[in-house]
């Protein structure tokens, strides 16, 4: 309805999942003795901390400065990727998160900062494990 200038805006901008992740970001924070990747772009800042043991990501934490979708995406990533192969980080793509969190298209640039951070974390981890 132009009546409302609200087409697509009338509904809650945040899905229940985004709200839950934002409200209790259990992986928010730093990890000592861990690999760390930090990216700043698009007005968004993300730091990721990973502990990798035998090729497996055993611990993940994030810090983020950004909109709720950025924070929720970072939290969702950490929750999902703990326990997965460190090598997967290099191929990480946010497209699945974009969809499952219903991130509006105009925010995709910001969410891609997470992708950059994860991939950068992936290389750092690989570099570290080569030592």
């Amino acid at each position: 309805m132009p009546g409302t200038d609200a087409r697509g805006m009338s509904s809650d901008p945040y899905s229940a999942e985004v709200r839950a992740l934002f409200a209790a970001p259990e992986h928010g924070g730093v990890l000592d003795n861990a690999s760390c990747a930090a990216v700043e772009d698009q007005g968004v800042r993300i730091s990721l901390f990973a502990r990798v043991e035998e090729g497996i990501v055993t611990g993940l934490r994030f810090q983020a400065w950004g909109c709720p979708h950025v924070i929720a995406a970072a939290e969702a990533f950490c929750a999902k990727s703990e326990g997965s192969a460190a090598s997967d980080l290099l191929e990480f793509s946010v497209s699945g998160l974009m969809q499952s969190l219903s991130v509006p298209a105009e925010k995709s640039g910001r969410i891609l900062v997470l992708e950059d951070a994860v991939r950068s974390l992936g290389s750092i981890v690989r570099g570290a494990s080569k030592h």
Partner: protein, 391 residues
């Protein structure tokens, strides 16, 4: 003074009471609980307000068989008419500056056209036949290469006459002229199927169909080339076509009224037809009485009659406590005979004696019987009082 307890309101074409269910829906948007929030706000309360508005848009869209995003909320049919006429004229002014309308349109249409004439546009003012109907050949003859907008009302507010908007729209389409319809008197009262009708712009209002005063909408067909320039600026509401905080309670009232109208439009028409026929049967044998319009081709909520050699103002007073109109409500304060009836070729004297009876949902057969009696008696009395011409 009129005793209000016995006042009989037969002026539903001027305005209607608001359906109690509509009032309830409106009240829920005004008090407590966050529903009063500004629909432009992003927080939960604002979103709720937006949801109510979207629901109402759905109700009005359903009544007219269109989609929500073709509707722009306005403050009433007067504003809708202005937005359609001024807005389309300016939007298409490069294409041509010739416009067509009828003399028998409402002031909310004729006045914007007169204003456009002052600003350099050219307007052709069509005449109707003696019943108020537009002959399609008259329109065809007026069409020009540079005709960019035609505005013809659906139901006339004084006579109830129904124009053939299907044929008129088709002709406009052939000539690439936009077609605007003032449907203030028909929305919610006659079936309107915008998915099927060749109408580009349509003005509607709530208060003629048991909704609140001060809320209307303009339908803008979702077709290439159909657009208007805004008249008001500010904020980004309604795709910048019509800014201002959306009056949620008014919109919800219009939506509820549309919903009710949709569910009972046929019953309403049956009810009104019976009342109108009863009224006409009761007065048609009064010497010198004539219908203004054409009963066979009219919205049955309106019966407009003139009578020979009767002074209109005295007739109106003799009819109290009936509340009826002479001419249209919007002009009836001037003592001028109705320009609409004059355009149908009525003499000043006949036009001046015109009484518009208009019926509504609450009207009963008993109300009509009182009206018949008062009308007959009033005419008798005034005729007795009048000097015999030969005297």
């Amino acid at each position: 003074m009129t005793d209000r307890s016995q006042m009989i309101y037969l002026d539903y074409a001027a305005s209607t009471p608001v359906d109690p269910w509509v009032v309830e829906a409106m009240t829920a948007l005004m008090t407590a609980d966050g529903n009063y929030s500004n629909p432009s706000s992003t927080h939960a309360a604002g979103r709720r307000s937006v949801e109510y508005i979207a629901h109402a848009a759905g109700q009005l869209a359903s009544l007219l068989n269109t989609t929500e995003d073709t509707l722009v909320w306005t403050s009433g049919a007067t504003e809708s008419d202005n937005l359609a006429i001024l807005g389309a004229a300016y939007y298409r002014r490069e294409r041509g500056q010739h416009l067509i309308t009828m003399r028998t349109e409402h002031k909310a249409v004729t006045d914007p056209f007169s204003e456009l004439e002052k600003r350099g546009f050219e307007v052709t003012w069509l005449d109707s036949d003696a019943n108020g109907l537009l002959d399609i050949e008259t329109l065809r003859a007026a069409m020009r290469e540079d005709t960019q907008l035609v505005s013809i009302m659906h139901v006339n507010n004084e006579t109830g006459i129904i124009q053939d908007i299907q044929s008129i729209g088709a002709l406009c389409g052939e000539n690439d002229a936009l077609f605007h319809v003032d449907a203030a008197q028909s929305c919610g009262k006659l079936p309107i199927d915008l998915a099927a009708l060749p109408v580009d712009l349509m003005s509607v209002t709530a208060h003629k169909t048991y909704g609140p005063k001060g809320i209307g909408a303009l339908y803008i067909a979702d077709r290439k080339g159909v657009h208007v320039e805004p008249l008001l600026f500010g904020g980004g509401q309604q795709r910048k076509l019509r800014p201002g905080t959306l009056p949620a309670q008014q919109i919800v009232g219009f939506g509820a009224a549309a919903d009710i109208a949709q569910s009972r439009i046929n019953d309403d028409l049956g009810h009104l037809t019976a009342l109108r026929d009863r009224m006409w049967a009761g007065i048609r044998d009064v010497p010198g009485v004539t219908v203004n319009g054409d009963i066979a081709n009219s919205f049955p909520g309106i019966l407009n009659v003139s009578v020979e050699d009767i002074e209109g103002e005295s007739l109106l007073l003799a009819l109290e406590p009936l509340c009826v109109a002479t001419g249209s409500a919007c002009n009836s304060k001037s003592q001028e005979p109705s320009y609409v009836l004059r355009a149908l070729g009525r003499s000043d004297a006949l036009a001046q004696s015109a009484i518009r009876f208009s019926f509504g949902r609450p009207t009963t057969a008993a109300d009509v019987d009182v009206a018949i009696e008062l009308y007959r008696n009033g005419i008798d009395k005034l005729r007795c009082l009048a000097p015999t011409r030969a005297a």
